[in-house]
Symmetry: C2
DNA sequence: CGGTGTCATGACATCGATGTCATAAGGCTA
DNA sequence: TAGCCTTATGACATCGATGTCATGACACCG
């Protein structure tokens, strides 16, 4: 690979002059500039990042740690929206700042993280984004990174590390409010697995919406049915639906913990001759577009704003690096409710329903 | 950040001795080694990749170009299996070779590629993987990369660049053979969009399987219905199914160009009271597990072996770098047929069917 | 016409690690 | 015991780019 010395020799100038042409940081006569440009061109010269970053002590690199890549078809996809969208959001922001994103994958094993961080340090990354596959407390102590600014995404810790998380409570609140506004009063809710951050927060939002509307919370209409796509899940959902519809005041809408569950619910309902949305409305969560837009009718769902979270986190990190941002803050990102065909008002479809 | 000089000073030795401890490439007395290790530890010393790669003229980096990240929720997901799985496969292999993968995203715009390649060259990547989002001819001429070995994945060019592609013909052949073996004779086929490599090759495989079984190809049972998830698609599929079932010899199985189409077909069939698989079997293509495993009944489908392709491509690249592999070769990767509940033999479910 | 800028350029040192060569202290062989 | 090898260590140059300082050539001012 050609070096700046090769270019200099070929153009008959000193390396420093070539450097000046490259960086446009000092006047160079037009003639010299052309000669240098010509030499760079014929030699296919590209400056060495290693040499530059050594001299400048700046790497221009941002490290991102994720399990998104290695787990793309495993639990995390089964569990919900691919966290890859977070990576995408971050990428788009970092790219525009003309830094380079170094993406490392945990391969699903957290004990890999220290190695990844070490590799990042070897590359002298200027900041680190740590992306979790779903909203949760940070599961490990990140190795002390000698003051490498770090931003957590989709997770949070106890030490005030800047974090960007989704507004699970508010999302479910707004979604439930849409359901209520459509006229529903008997609302079933198939939640995600117990113990998860999202499960807890969304249930809070759900109850707050009910309470705001003056509707009592009915525990018999709530069941946790998320088994991350493992075999027993289908039966679990079937059972829950059976129970819901066995009562004398069956629900007019099924809220699902995520779009994948909603997809399963579509199948089960249709198999029993219950039409969506004519007989019962269905809403999801995540706005996993592959599902929400392909299902028929298309799915009304709350957006889990992964892309926006990634972008926001990247921006926070860049701000930290430039000293523009306050260091310790947790940012909660809201998502929209996506209104589609699966949610209709029960009145129009159950004209004779007892009220 | 601490340097090797800082460590040397603290340990009371020369930098070169620290280097020897780091690389274990020359004998160092136990006492000195301990002192150095201690110093590295207290200072949190991590060697600089930039300085190392400058001296050794080796970067240990592999560049990967993809649109997978930026397009994760756009056309390419709508079109089929996320090409991110290719990235995952490559990542796992590269990681094991203790090189570092530098992933760059095109942001969906091909005119970004030259910039990405330039960035790669600045980092002196030792090889490049170019990943396409679906099987297609390479759409651009990669910038002359001064002998940086390159492997194409999911695409191919005319110049004998090493490439790794899926076995579309063989995959559809084997899948169709499974369908025939199950006893089906009237086989409908909703193909992907015309003009695509996959469409052409899979139709070839489909026809070869029919012909091997001595069944005449019936064009009235074949329709292109893939609009990449755009609005008109649902009607297009409905129409196709209407036409199929209007004839006097309706199909007993619907082969779908991908799993997403199969998902749409499930919905449409059920809406019309046609049960899957009791009344009609359905098979897909891709093995997009989020779909194939969540649908009920689970979907029989041909695996699009993206993970294996990525891994294979990475291995080929590493072999090229070590001089182990022949430089020019196109590798065709086979996928399995995944047998699940959506394909059953028509005889058991149509006991009264003519013939 | 000498002094003072500005422009255009180059020599040299430097960033952090490591390859090359030198050196000193022992231990072993002949 | 001289000669030689091995072990343990350091001095110095080097990788490629760039910051600092110096220099020569003009142009302009008084």
């Amino acid at each position: 690979m050609a070096t700046i010395y090769d270019v200099a020799k070929r153009a008959g100038v000193s390396p420093k002059t070539v450097s000046r042409v490259l960086n446009k940081d000092a006047p160079v006569s037009a003639k010299t500039r052309d000669a240098v440009a010509q030499a760079m061109d014929t030699l296919g010269y590209v400056p060495s990042h290693a040499a530059r970053s050594m001299k400048s002590n700046k790497s221009g690199l941002i490290g991102l740690i994720t399990g998104a890549i290695s787990s793309a078809d495993e639990i995390s996809v089964a569990a919900g929206l691919p966290d890859l969208l977070i990576v995408q959001g971050a990428q788009s922001v970092i790219e525009r700042s003309n830094k380079t994103l170094l993406i490392s994958d945990t391969g699903g094993r957290l004990d890999n993280v220290p190695d990844l961080v070490r590799t990042f340090q070897e590359h002298r990354v200027e900041g680190i984004l740590y992306v979790a596959d779903f909203h949760k407390p940070l599961e490990l102590t990140l190795p002390a990174t000698q003051a490498v600014p770090t931003v957590l995404v989709n997770c949070f810790d106890q030490h005030g590390t800047p974090a960007v998380v989704p507004d699970d409570e508010g999302g479910q609140y707004t979604l439930t409010k849409s359901v209520l506004d459509a006229g529903h009063r008997r609302i079933a809710y198939l939640t995600l697995a117990p113990g998860q951050e999202a499960t807890r927060l969304r249930l809070q939002g759900f109850r707050r919406a009910l309470s705001d509307a003056g509707i009592p919370f009915d525990p018999s209409l709530v069941r946790a049915t998320d088994l991350f796509g493992t075999p027993g899940e289908h039966e679990l959902i079937s059972d829950a639906l059976d129970t819901f519809f066995a009562g004398d005041a069956p629900p007019t809408v099924i809220c699902c913990g995520n779009d994948r569950l909603a997809m399963a619910v579509y199948g089960i309902l249709r198999r029993r001759g219950i039409a969506v949305p004519e007989d019962v409305s269905v809403v999801g969560y995540d706005d996993h577009r592959l599902i929400s837009e392909t299902l028929y009718p298309a799915l009304t769902t709350a957006e889990l704003p992964y892309g926006a979270m990634g972008a926001r986190a990247a921006q926070v990190l860049l701000d930290l690096l430039s000293g523009t941002a306050p260091p310790d803050e947790t940012i909660i990102v809201r998502g929209d409710v996506k209104h589609r065909g699966s949610l209709v008002t029960p009145a129009t479809t159950h004209p004779g329903a007892v009220d």
